[in-house]
């Protein structure tokens, strides 16, 4: 499977991007030339130069350093919200699929209610009311995007439910949770993983949208979304303030999407070219 993936150049490109960004984010404290909150009143809004490779922002802070630390924030938002949504979705989906009956109906109705809410509006409303702290943002994004995963897992578990080996396992007295965890879930995980990768990209875009509205990760803590929003108000004057975060978001989301699509192509037997 891995080799097949490598034959897909787009997925490879995606993977390279994902890894590179991961590395940049991890190594931020060592890679960043300046402290991201260090400001310098004498060098406000200066373009890229030898001193500041990506220029400075409205308070004279080094954009490159802020971008590197912002990468941490953006990736963290992506991963934690996907983590939350995956956890919730897998659990609820497995429970619904395994126990069926009333439990399933109730859970699926709940999924329907959640799906009927325009999620972005719900995110907006909640964040606007709560503190726009990173944790709240991650929590809200996570808690509003688990439905797809839930349905996926439920479908898988449902289809596996009938399989002989599961019936046998139960007859042998294995606990339902073990049955689910050991046998049903691993098969469902592949599409969940793909959904997770795509979810990271989505979460990063949502964070930048929230920043535009002023309720994303709050400055002075840097995030790509809020650097881009500052760039928006300095458009004609400081192109680097919007091009850098804009391109970073674009590249990251693109990378994750290409990787996710590539993985999906590989994992889904129906789509392979003969």
């Amino acid at each position: 499977m891995g080799r097949r993936l490598l034959r897909n150049p787009l997925a490879v490109a995606g993977g390279v991007i994902v890894l590179a960004l991961f590395a940049a984010a991890l190594l931020a404290p060592w890679l960043a030339p300046y402290d991201p909150s260090d400001f310098d009143a004498a060098h406000v809004l200066e373009g890229p130069s030898a001193l500041h490779l990506l220029g400075t922002d409205g308070l004279g802070r080094d954009v490159l350093s802020r971008m590197l630390f912002g990468a941490r924030v953006s990736l963290m938002v992506g991963f934690v919200s996907v983590g939350i949504s995956s956890l919730v979705g897998v659990t609820l989906g497995a429970v619904a699929g395994y126990f069926r009956g009333v439990v399933d109906t109730v859970l699926m109705r709940f999924v329907d209610v959640m799906l009927t809410f325009p999620t972005f509006f719900l995110i907006l409303a909640v964040i606007a009311y709560l503190d726009a702290s990173i944790w709240n943002i991650m929590l809200v994004i996570g808690l509003t995007s688990w439905m797809g995963v839930c349905r996926l897992v439920r479908a898988e578990v449902l289809s596996l439910r009938e399989r002989d080996f599961l019936v046998a396992a139960e007859a042998l007295g294995m606990k339902p949770s073990r049955v689910i965890l050991r046998h049903a879930l691993p098969n469902a995980l592949a599409p969940v993983f793909v959904a997770g990768i795509l979810g990271v990209a989505g979460a990063i875009l949502v964070e930048s949208a929230l920043s535009f509205l002023g309720i994303g990760v709050q400055p002075p803590q840097p995030s790509w979304g809020n650097i881009l929003t500052e760039g928006k108000s300095t458009l004609g004057v400081a192109w680097w303030l919007s091009v850098c975060p804009g391109m970073a978001i674009l590249i990251t989301v693109l990378g994750y999407n290409l990787l996710g699509e590539g993985l999906r192509d590989v994992l889904d037997p129906r789509l392979r070219a003969r």
Binding site: F117, L124, L205, A209, F212, K232, G246, N257, L271
Partner: protein, 324 residues
């Protein structure tokens, strides 16, 4: 069939109740009330004035009473009056914003469909070619760009620097003095940017879906048979594969009907379009409960009907699902 419909429709009621209750809870938990926004930090506003205002809006009553009152009104078809100072009926406010949003979304969807289907077909029938990869990248890049960034860049380039298109709004200032043709053209010019950008960012989903659906169909045995029979590739693709490949796309369409009434807050803010997105957002910020509840309710109703329609269409279109 009828009993199926009846059952589905009956299921709407608890769902709607659930949704309205959850929204009400969210609004109620929010710090601050609409009265605060009117009187905060105004040295001239006394505590008595505040109390009077709260009583006027019924905010001094316990939550369940407020919710009950709201429900009672809804059942009679009355969506209530906005809490904002204009005291206009909620229905009026929604009726102003909804047609605009609907119109834009339908245009978007049409444009996206018009582009996504051919792209998907082409990508699928030339899988792994350079063209396939290039369009994949193109489509994903469109999706990956933060929409407000692209919108602003487009406005700067096409609007300000080149002067080809108007920057924001839906009509020019001198619209009323234009000829009928002039007016139509004015509207089109104002729509190009918002619809274009929305299409650019929305193309990815549908085109990829079309592509994978097409790919799946093209692997089927009967396609091999058609090819073996000597039919041209064109006939194979367009006459046999396409029809089947379009089935799932049709259902996706059905599922996007509820999305038609939701406006993008960001696009509407940037382009100064008075649609549902902005109405919802500003009402949320102003704690204008009646409007928020009204929009949520209408949205939920349309979503439920949209899902029902999608399910019906799916059954109608896919012969495998029809009950004998």
């Amino acid at each position: 069939m009828l009993s199926y419909l009846a059952k589905r429709l009956a299921g709407f009621v608890p769902l709607l109740l659930g949704i309205s209750f959850v929204s009400f809870l969210v609004m109620a938990m929010a710090p601050g009330t609409p009265v605060d926004l009117m009187t905060d930090l105004n040295p001239k506003a006394s505590p008595e004035a505040r109390e009077r205002l709260e009583k006027y809006y019924g905010l001094d009553q316990p939550l369940y009473v407020q919710y009950g009152l709201w429900l009672g009104r809804i059942v009679r078809g009355d969506l209530g009056t906005s809490f904002s100072r204009d005291r206009r009926p909620v229905l009026d406010k929604i009726a102003e914003a909804l047609p605009i949003t609907l119109f834009l979304n339908v245009l978007d969807l049409t444009l996206i469909l018009g582009l996504a289907i051919p792209i998907g077909i082409y990508s699928a029938s030339h899988q792994y070619s350079f063209a396939d990869r290039a369009t994949t990248v193109f489509v994903f890049v469109g999706f990956a760009m933060p929409s407000f960034w692209v919108a602003l860049l487009a406005m700067m380039l096409l609007g300000e620097q080149l002067g080809w298109l108007p920057i924001s709004g839906l009509r020019s200032l001198d619209y009323d003095s234009m000829s009928l043709l002039g007016q139509a053209w004015d509207r089109v010019r104002h729509l190009i940017l918002p619809v274009g950008i929305a299409a650019l960012t929305g193309l990815a989903g549908l085109s990829r879906y079309m592509r994978s659906s097409m790919l799946e169909v093209l692997r089927q045995d009967y396609i091999q048979t058609a090819r073996a029979k000597g039919l041209s590739e064109r006939a194979v693709v367009y006459r046999h594969a396409l029809r089947n490949a379009l089935l799932p796309v049709v259902t996706i369409l059905g599922l996007s009907i509820p999305g038609l009434i939701g406006g993008s807050v960001i696009a509407e803010t940037i382009f100064a379009i008075p649609g549902m997105g902005r109405l919802f957002y500003t009402s949320v910020l102003m704690r204008d409960y009646p409007v928020v509840m009204g929009i949520t309710l209408i949205g939920a109703v349309l979503t439920l009907f949209g899902n029902l329609l999608a399910d019906l269409m799916y059954v109608a279109v896919d012969p495998r699902l029809r009950k004998r």
